[in-house]
Each structure stands twice: as C-alpha cells, then as structure tokens.
Amino acid sequence: MSRILPNLCFIGLTLLLSGCGKPDDNAAVTTGAEADVSAEVEAFYAANPEFFGFKTLADVPVDLNWEAGEGLPEIGSPEARKGGTQYGALQDFPRTLRTVGPDSNGGFRTFLLDEVGMSLTHLHPGTRELYPGLAEAWALDPENRTVYIKLDPQATFSDGAAITADDYLFMFWFYRSPYIMAPWYNNFYSTTYSNITRYDDHLISITTAELKPDFAEKATNLRPVPQHHYKAMGENFTERYQWQFEPTPGAYIVREDDIRKGRSIALTRNDNWWAKDKKHWRYRFNPDRIQLNIIRDSAKMFEAFKRGDIDQFGLNLAEYWYEKLPDSDPDVQAGYIHKSVFFNQRPRPNFGLWVNTAQPLLDNPDIRKGVAHATHWDLVIEKFFRGDNDRLNTASDGFGDFSHPTLRARAFDIDKAQQYFAAAGFNQRGADGILANADGQRLAFTLSTGYESLRDVLTILRQEAAKAGLDLRLEILDGTVGWKKVQEKQHDIHFSAFGVPLEMYPRFWEHYHSVNAYDDAFLEDGSINPERQLKTQTNNIEALALFEMDELIERYRRSNDRAEMVALSHRMIELHHDHASFIPGFYQGYFRVGHWRWIRYPEGFSYKHAGSAGELYVHWIDTDLKEETLAARRSGQTFDPAITVHNQWAE
C-alpha cells in the first residue's frame, strides 16, 4: 500500500538523514537529444486495445443519466478572504517533489497532491457524495461497471495547457510504467481498472474490474498526468524528475525559487487557477502563499507556534492540549491563540498491538488471548489520553454498517490472562514475578513501535502486563526502522496503525489473506503446508493464514451485493477477533488544533468526515486581524478567549 503509514510516522524520521539537504544540481540533468516518450506510449495503447479504447461520440449510449453533484452544500464560507501568507513547518525537507516512486510517500505529498491536487470528482466531506472536480458531469452504467465522464473544458494545468482526455489515457500508462519504480501503483492501476475509452477531447469512460458498491468513487477518483511534462520519461525517471514540480490542476504551485533545500519550501496560489470561481472550490485555498520552514524538533516547532512564527499547531496529544497549551495559558486567556476541538466520523486508524503469529509461543492462541487480557488499554486511555480517546474494538471500526455492531475488545483481566497463560503451560512465577513454563522458559516478548511520541503508552502497558506475569521488552524505533522491521516480519508484537482512507468498506485482502502471509500457505485440502515460507514486505503483519478467512475474502472481493459484503465483513471481523492476533488499542474521535486569532474558520469549523483541520483548506487568513492582534500583543490589549468544542458530529 502506498499511503499506509499514518502521519505519526513522520515524527522522528528526521535524525538519521538530517544531512541530506545540501544543494545539488540533480534537477538540471542534461537532456541531450530531446527524448520523446510519445511513440512508446502510443505503442502501449496499441498493444493493449482491450484497456485503451478509442471511439467516437456516436458510440456513447444515449440514455445516460448525467449527474453533477447538484444540490450539495457548498464547501467553505463566502466570508473567506483571499490573501496573506500561511506559515507552517515541516520536520524534514521533502526528499523529492515527485508524487510517485521512491521516497515520494513523505509528509510533503499532502501539499503536492492529497490535499491540494484535483481529481475528476471528490467525496463531499459532509455527505460523502460525489461533487465535481475536473469532471463537469458523470453518468453511471453499472451493468457494464462503467462511468462516463464529461471533462470540464475550462480545466487547465498550472502551466496553461488544457486538460484533455489524453492526459487520462497517459495517466494509466504512467502509473503502469516500470520507470516510476512503484510496484503498488503498477498493480493497482492494472487490476482495479479494466478499460479507459476516449470519445473526444472532453469525454471519456472508465471501467472498473469489479462492480463494487463504490465503483463510481473508484472510477472518478483519478487525476490527469500531463504528458507534455513527462515527454522525456525513461529509465532515469526518478532522478530526472526528482526536483521538478509537475504542472497541477490544483490551486497551489511550487516555484523553483521557493525550493531552498534543507531550509524551506513554499507553495504559491495560482492567480489564474481555472477553478477559482467554481462551486465547492471558490471559497477554499485562500492564503496567497504557504511558507513551510524546516524545524526538525517538535518541541522547537511548538515554541515557534507560541511565538507566532507558525499560524496553527495540532494539539491532538493530551500533553499539548492540557500541559503545553492549557486553557489557562496567557496567550489563550488573552484571546491571541484560539483552541478548537472538532469531533468527526470516519474510518479510524487501527492503533493497537499487531502480534506476529509466526513467532514461537505467539503461534499459540492461548498465549495471544492471555496477552490481550494482560494489556491495560483502559488505563492508557484514562491516564495518558486523559479519557479523551476511546477503546478501539476491532481493526475495522468506523466503517458504518460494515463495522461489527456488537463485538468488544478483550478487557484487561489479570485472572483471565493467567488462565490462558496457564493453559499454555506458563503457571510458575519466577523470582522477578514473570511466568515461566516447566522448561524454565520465561513469558517474555518484545513490544516494538515506530512511534517515538507514544513511547509512554508502551511503558504503561509493560508495567501493567508485569502484574499478569508477562514481560514486555520495549523497543522504541525510528519510524522507518520500525516499519521496516514489521515489513520483514521480524517483530514479536508491534504497536502501530494503518492509516485508513475515507472508504466505504474495510480492506481485508491486504491484511488477512494467506497469500500475504506465506508462499503456498495451504495444501489443496485446506491443511497447512508444512514447507510454507513466511512472506515479507506485505501488510499481513500478523502472518495470519486461515483457510476459512481466505475463502471469505475471495467471496468478499467478488461480491457486488452490499448486504452480502456487510455480512461477510462481520464474519471476518469475528474470525479475526477469535484469532486474537490483533489487540485493539484506541481511537481518537476528534481532532484538535490551536490557531492564532487571525486564522479564521467557517461556521461549524469543519465537516463531518474531515480528518484534520487544515486538509480542506477552508480556513483563511485575516490580515487585518493579524495586524490588530500583533499590535494588541505588544500593547497588552486582550480579547475574549476562544476555546470551542464542535461536537455536532460526536459519536
């Protein structure tokens, strides 16, 4: 998966490679004789006629029912004012300006693509219905798993080039190309979709491989890739385009002068943005400029925020909300800094303990259940998160009716834990109070994590687990090192979470199918293959291989019936719970942010399904207020404090 590591992972990535920001001239790779990839692209289209179709307008069915997301409430506020500079900070200078290929999945990608880019349609953050982006209208043809899309003829890239059907055809070639060195993209774009057809410059159709309930979302969540920019594409793609900003249909561009390697990078609003007067887009992306300086240490970043050098700061961690910027803070009490909490509803990142069932002892379900009963998450939630977070019950919470309605995570219970451990032969307490079996083997596992900032959570778990006679050895790793360990399946028990995109239903194949755990996990009769080999570099980090689960997953993947998928999803979640290879931790049903008074948000603050305060770019900078606030701060004048809780969508 490409977008898998949750944002927290970027914390702590910085130390190792802090020396990588020296200026270099890779951007100026000599082009020599101007290469042109067009012939290769054409040849690829011709070689895959079933995928790349070329038809005329006469071939478009006449009885299509065109829709354009009319009637959805507009995103953003008409009060929003354009202008000003938004100051922010990054922990690490982006390793590349590419959005695909090695090193491209870093924190800066959100500024290039995820939050700022545009695709054909987008999911409305309030209703989860489609609203138009680059598409003017679309029509569904479920029988043929196809969506017809009228492209907005006004749409242009930031360099002025018009966006046409060709840029979408090229996108498929681009993502399927071996040059980009991104196997996940290669696979996703060749298996999720089965056809793209061009009817004229502004009309295309896209066919998905399966008719899933969300096929319209999948078929239109696509973005054009400018062929004219990638004309010289080839083996040297990763180096050649390392520091080249790809022309975007979105509001912000990165100018070459603003890339100061290792120090800062800035985004500038495109004055001639084609969508600046479009509904859902006109009141968003308000700051003229987004200046991002590199501050490698999060404590320093917070100090910069307190000085007013940074406009906003995420206060999700209780430590920040209650200790470092308490309600009694002078800047908060004087009304200079506002604090806001917003409760949202969306699939929850599944923070918890991922147990590697391929390790000795942990392959025993009794031990796993014992470990589950020996981890005191309620104490973590109460004492570390100050009761603000809630216990996660399964690995797939927050998917509406696809999530399991009644299943509850195993509670901390020393007696039950000891019963399970005793059933596995661990019934003697050693001199240090840790259980041992008849062979003298201690009940000890390594508990690792890549979350430096959540290390205290593990300290608490360790302390409590010792009461049940379980020794958890802690290993706090750098984010990338921790993830690598898990991908190599070298962990015992790992504390982590998979970032979950705003999707309709949970994914199971990646995490629970045996093909991602072992090569040839089962023999033909369903029994375990004694010679199976552990498979690395997959997201089945529990090495979970259950014959029944495989069958359910196959049915789930094939199913087109929502009700059947819901039932299958529940069954699989139950099976996963019984297997006890994942110990659900906590989820956070809100986001919290501190922002200076001059950062304004629309009424209601954000939207039901939003993931963070800034991601929709509905805020704006009130430059008059900024001057007023700075002057007031110098003179000692104060305003009313603003600590607001937006719980209209609290679950």
């Binding site: 690792s448 302390q463 050895r473 090192v481």
Partner: protein, 355 residues
C-alpha cells in the same frame, strides 16, 4: 601490608594536600558506596515487613506476591499501599519503607493522569516526576549508577587494550609498530556515531537489556582504545632507550620482565593522569547517545533520556531538566576536579629523578 613505592607514597600525599581534588574524591567515593547499596535507599520494595509475627526483608529476595501478606493478588506487593493498609487496620503488622519508596520503572500518578508533577515532599517525589509519572530521583539515582558502572567498565577495557597494544608497539617497534600504526589510523577514521546507529539497527531486539548494554559498551570500546595507544607507544619508546633498560637486558631479563617490572611502573603517571578524563568522556558519550536515542535501551533509567525529556518540556516541567542537568554537572565536575588533582600530584616535573 601493601608496601608503597616511596615515590608513589609521596605523590599520594601530595594528592591529599590538593584539597579540592581530595574532597571531590571523598564525595565521589561516598557516592559510589551509596549507589552500591541503592536498593536500600531508593526502592518500591519495603526494607522490612512485619506480618503476623514474621519478619520479611524483600529488598534483595525473590518477589513477594500480594497473597503473602493477605492481599488478593498474585503479582508483586505494592508496599506503599500495604503500609497504609496496615496502619489503617491498627494491628501489630508494620512496614518500613526506604526513604524514597519508588523504583525507577513504576508509573506513580497520584493525580490520576500521567504527567510531570513538580517536586513535593508530601508524595515523597523529592525531585518531581517525569512525563510518565516516574520518580525522577529514582531514575537519576539508578541512571547515575549505570552511567558510572558503564564508565568504569569502559575505562578499564580501553586501558587494557590500549596499554597492551601501545606497549607492544613501542617496545617491539619495527614492522610491528609500522603495521599497527597504519591499522590504527584507518580504524580511528571510522565514524563512531554511524557505527553505533548501524549496529543497533541490525542486532535483534529480543536479546536482554543487559546484553544490549554490553554490546553498546563493546562498540564504544572498539572505537575508543586507539587514543590510548599513542601515549603508551611514545612513553614506552622513550623508556626503552634509557640506560636502565639496556642494563636489564644485558643482565638477561626477559621481555615480559622488562615490560612489567621496569617500563610499566615508569609510565604509570601518564596512565593515571588520563583516567579521570576517560571516565568523563565515557559518561558524556553515553549520555549523549541516550539523548540521541541510540544509547541504553528503554526503559533503562538514564541521564540522557531525562535530559531529552527535560528539553522537550522546558516550559511545562523545568524540574526535569534542572535535576538531570544538575546531576550531570556535579558528577562531571567531581571527576574533573579529581583528574586535575591527580595530574598535578603526578606531574613528573616535580618528582622525576632520572628525567
């Protein structure tokens, strides 16, 4: 009784006369003794429990499950609670706790949430608590002990290797000297910090904490012994060319006898002079590595880890950084004072007879 060389005795007398160094030495020695019996002073286990007429001394024994004292749980007894309970019951049972009744690992959150608490005598957190409500005094205490043991082990290892190789190089000279000099030059150019990071990223994590500390020690020694060889080599070279060595050789003394009986005692002042500074370097190095997160494995108490917490919470919990920084300053100052006094008292210019 140990018969001291009159010269050495003179040097020691001189050391005693340098007050600053001598008192520093006494304080540090006292500190070491205190640290050695730390479990009696800073510990969550009681010193003595009197229960139903029996006396228990849990400090150095196996753990006592709560059931031993009539409690309803099978894990380690919480002696602070036990003390309150016995007091409330008002019978003959009693508990004697150490002056600081916390161990460096336990999260003790009297306020209900894990957060740094300022120092109070009331809860017996004399230096406050850290971000997960662990007692700072306990963590400092055991962190200092580990750092000192680590530093002594480091110094001893570096000396053994450095003296052996340096002496051999100086004494045998020739090709042996040439080859080793080049090897040392190459070896000392390997960047130490990167090696620590690389090694710790590949060693499996399921090995015990003590083994991981030993590996860290080994790595640090491997990259630090080279400095000692330079001094030993030159000193040995110098001594070797003196007449008394030539006489010894003519009489027929073996190489081993010459090295150990004649050369070593005469280069001793150099060695001793460097020792405190090596210890300072070791403490600083392990603290710095902890600060960067590549040192002692969590949750081992350490000065560097506390410093790191302190700098991250400067505004909200200044007592963390004050405690850690203060301890480090005191410790390094003591060792440095001792070092200066030793250097002065062993200064060859005031004593050398045949130099």
């Amino acid at each position: 009784m140990l018969q001291l060389n009159p010269q050495t005795a003179k040097k020691l007398q001189r050391f005693r006369r340098i007050r600053r160094g001598y008192y520093s030495f006494l304080i540090l020695a006292g500190l070491l003794v205190t640290l050695a019996f730390g479990e009696l002073l800073v510990n969550s286990r009681a010193l003595v429990v009197s229960y139903e007429g029996n006396l228990y001394f849990p400090t150095y024994t196996d753990f006592h499950p709560g059931t031993d004292f009539g409690l309803d749980y099978a894990y380690e007894t919480n002696y602070r609670q036990l003390k309150k309970q016995f007091a409330a019951e008002g019978n003959d049972n009693w508990v004697l706790l150490p002056p600081v009744p916390y161990n460096p690992y336990e999260n003790h959150a009297p306020g209900g949430t894990f957060r740094p608490l300022p120092p109070t005598a009331e809860t017996q957190h004399y230096l406050g608590t850290d971000t997960t409500s662990r007692d700072i005094l306990a963590r400092l205490f055991y962190g200092t002990r580990i750092a000192l043991v680590f530093a002594f082990a480091f110094t001893a290892s570096v000396y053994v290797i450095g003296i052996t190789i340096g002496c051999a190089m100086g004494y045998f000279g020739g090709v042996f000297d040439l080859v080793f000099q080049r090897l040392i030059e190459i070896w000392s150019n390997v960047p130490f910090l990167y090696m620590v990071i690389i090694i710790f990223s590949v060693i499996p994590s399921n090995i015990a904490v003590i083994t991981r500390i030993s590996i860290l020690l080994l790595v640090m020694v491997l990259f630090s012994w080279t400095g000692m060889t330079y001094y030993m080599r030159t000193e040995t070279y110098k001594e070797k060319s003196r007449d008394y060595i030539a006489s010894a050789r003519i009489i027929g003394a073996s190489n081993a006898r010459i090295i150990f009986r004649h050369i070593m005692p005469n280069v001793l002042s150099t060695l001793i002079t460097f020792m405190p500074f090596t210890i300072v370097a070791a403490i600083s190095a392990v603290t710095a590595l902890d600060f960067l997160g590549f040192g002692l494995p969590a949750p081992t108490p350490s000065l560097g880890e506390l410093l790191k917490q302190g700098t991250a919470n400067l505004r909200t919990a200044p007592w963390i950084v004050i405690a850690a920084f203060g301890t480090l300053v005191i410790l390094l100052t003591l060792v440095t004072f001792i070092g200066e006094a030793i250097r002065e008292s062993f200064d060859p210019k005031t004593h050398a007879v045949y130099r």
